[in-house]
């Protein structure tokens, strides 16, 4: 992880760590904080606690997003501090969820715009002049369009990948595929690094092809306190705890010192969290998918 971030994430870059509630790569966010990147444009549909931490740590100058909350808990207080009042210091660029998805799709498919039936009758286009109306060349309908987004770096967490970065995901898939194809550089972080034969045994599960991947990082528990379907549960207690930490700038700074700067990486972080946390996020059992047969055709 250290090498991947050192090589592929630069000051001033636009960075998308995607994953819709699932597979949010906290380990990469922490490494970016640890390496004290600055002036990043952070991109995510749901900034979540990871971007509250990163923005609290001062890595970003701008945030592109569609829903700014701590899911199931409340606000992201570090972000609120720099976006409320007379002189907000963090630049915001705001869409609806489908608007963000449309930006990723346009970026991923090299389109100059993506059309949507969102926004009509609201203040969102006035608040963000990048959201523009466009008349259909068939009949008299009008839609809104959003421009492509092409992050300098997209980071996605997956259950498994081979050494070339062919990554397989199950459970919620969010917008990771689109965000990865839209990016200039892609980092894939995985719970399990597997042999290519594991990927080849089930090619329909591959969400991101190694073709577009620049680095593969093996980082078990790299999505904690979010979750990895089949590997561990969401650590809801931490999401609740973060609310209190982030409300207090000093506590937030102390937390970053202890858990990010004071930790060499994810392995040490998990070691320090200890067995209590690992036990509480362990799935209560297994739910194994049935076998399917691709057939041999010689």
């Amino acid at each position: 992880m250290r090498d991947a971030v050192a090589t592929l994430v630069r000051d001033g870059d636009s960075v998308a760590i995607e994953g819709f509630t699932h597979l949010i790569c906290f380990a990469a966010g922490h490494e970016i904080i640890r390496q004290r990147r600055r002036d990043l444009t952070l991109i995510r549909m749901t900034p979540d606690v990871i971007y509250d931490q990163m923005i609290g740590a001062g890595v970003a100058r701008k945030l592109v997003f569609s829903w700014l909350g701590n899911p199931g808990v409340g606000s992201l207080h570090a972000i609120r501090r720099v976006t409320e009042g007379a002189q907000p210091t963090l630049e915001l660029e705001e869409y609806s969820h489908f608007g963000m998805v449309g930006r990723y799709i346009a970026g991923a498919t090299n389109l100059p715009f993506y059309p949507l039936r969102s926004y009509e009758g609201t203040d969102m286009p006035a608040a963000n002049p990048r959201i523009r109306p466009l008349a259909s060349p068939y009949g008299d309908e009008r839609v809104y369009v959003v421009p492509p987004i092409n992050p300098d770096v997209t980071i996605v967490h997956a259950q498994r990948a081979d050494a070339a970065g062919n990554a397989q995901v199950w459970g919620l898939v969010g917008a990771q595929k689109e965000a990865a194809f839209a990016a200039e550089r892609v980092i894939v972080v995985v719970e399990e690094l597997v042999d290519e034969s594991v990927i080849r045994a089930d090619p329909n599960r591959t969400v991101i092809p190694g073709l577009i991947v620049d680095a593969v990082v093996h980082e078990p528990y790299g999505a904690h306190p979010s979750y990895a379907q089949g590997f561990y549960d969401r650590d809801n207690a931490f999401y609740v705890e973060w609310d209190a930490i982030a409300r207090d700038p000093q506590r937030l700074t102390d937390w970053l010192e202890t858990w990010v700067h004071g930790s060499s990486g994810r392995a040490e972080y998990m070691e320090r969290l200890g067995p209590t946390v690992r036990d509480r996020i362990r799935p209560t059992g297994t739910a194994v998918a049935g076998a399917i047969d691709y057939g041999e055709y010689r």
Partner: protein
């Protein structure tokens, strides 16, 4: 728990669930709407099909989901879809009969603000913003709003329009608003109308919690209180920890 033997949240949930009678496809997030929808499934709308906004269809959660992306909504569901497919193929395609929204502010025409309190460029309070609320409002056949009401939330003029109401545009806007005080529907011209008051709530209570001259149905009646069966389901099955309903 009030003297009535149930909480205002329990009343809200029961009232919202009853509105789902006859509906088929429901787009649902976590929290109060999730409890209401699951109550409806077990009472007035057993055929309801659920699409969770995190990207799962036909979920059978083994526990009450704690957040929008809880893994328990995936395991055992009928289908998982990307956000692109969820918003494109399901919502924008028009497959959703009912979508739920919360709101920080709502006006008499059902316009909803979930973006900022104050000026957009220098807000007093920065709220979460649209998420999928803009699309839910525009693409669901009906929009149900569930929220607590006060003079600060039921306002004459919202600070920012995140999800459109019905005013003057021919758009549908919300069709039902369920609060801790009563149940509202909308007139043909798009104005919100109080139809029932929850037990123990007076018209003066409502007027004290609404920043415009409220339109009251000529047949204003009382919301039937939660039944024993509704309360049992809420307390024993759907929210045993009382996370959303106490």
């Amino acid at each position: 728990m009030t003297a009535a033997g149930y909480t205002p949240s329990e009343m809200m949930i029961a009232a919202a669930a009853r509105e789902l009678a006859g509906q088929r496809v429901c787009f649902v997030g976590i929290g109060l709407p999730n409890v209401a929808v699951n109550l409806a499934l077990r009472t007035v709308a057993p055929e309801l099909e659920l699409i969770y906004e995190a990207g799962a269809y036909g979920a059978q959660p083994a526990r009450l989901p704690l957040s929008i992306g809880d893994p328990t909504i995936v395991t055992g569901s009928l289908a998982v879809m990307s956000q692109a497919d969820l918003f494109g193929l399901y919502l924008q395609r028009g497959l959703v009969d009912v979508g739920f929204l919360g709101a920080a502010q709502i006006d008499r025409f059902g316009n909803i603000n979930s973006t900022v309190i104050g000026d957009y460029a220098a807000p007093k309070v920065r709220l979460p913003g649209s998420g999928g609320a803009n699309e839910i409002a525009l693409h669901s056949r009906q929009v149900f709003v569930v929220m607590r009401q006060s003079k600060r939330s039921f306002v004459a003029s919202i600070d920012f329009c995140t999800s459109p109401g019905s005013s003057g545009s021919g758009r549908r806007g919300p069709s039902v608003v369920v609060t801790d005080l009563g149940v509202y529907h909308f007139e043909a011209d798009g104005e919100m109308r109080l139809d029932t008051l929850h037990p123990g709530v007076s018209l003066d209570d409502v007027r004290a919690a609404i920043d415009w001259e409220v339109l009251v149905s000529p047949t204003l009646s009382q919301t039937p209180p939660p039944s024993a069966d509704e309360l049992r389901l809420i307390r024993e099955v759907l929210d045993p920890d009382g996370r959303y309903t106490r």
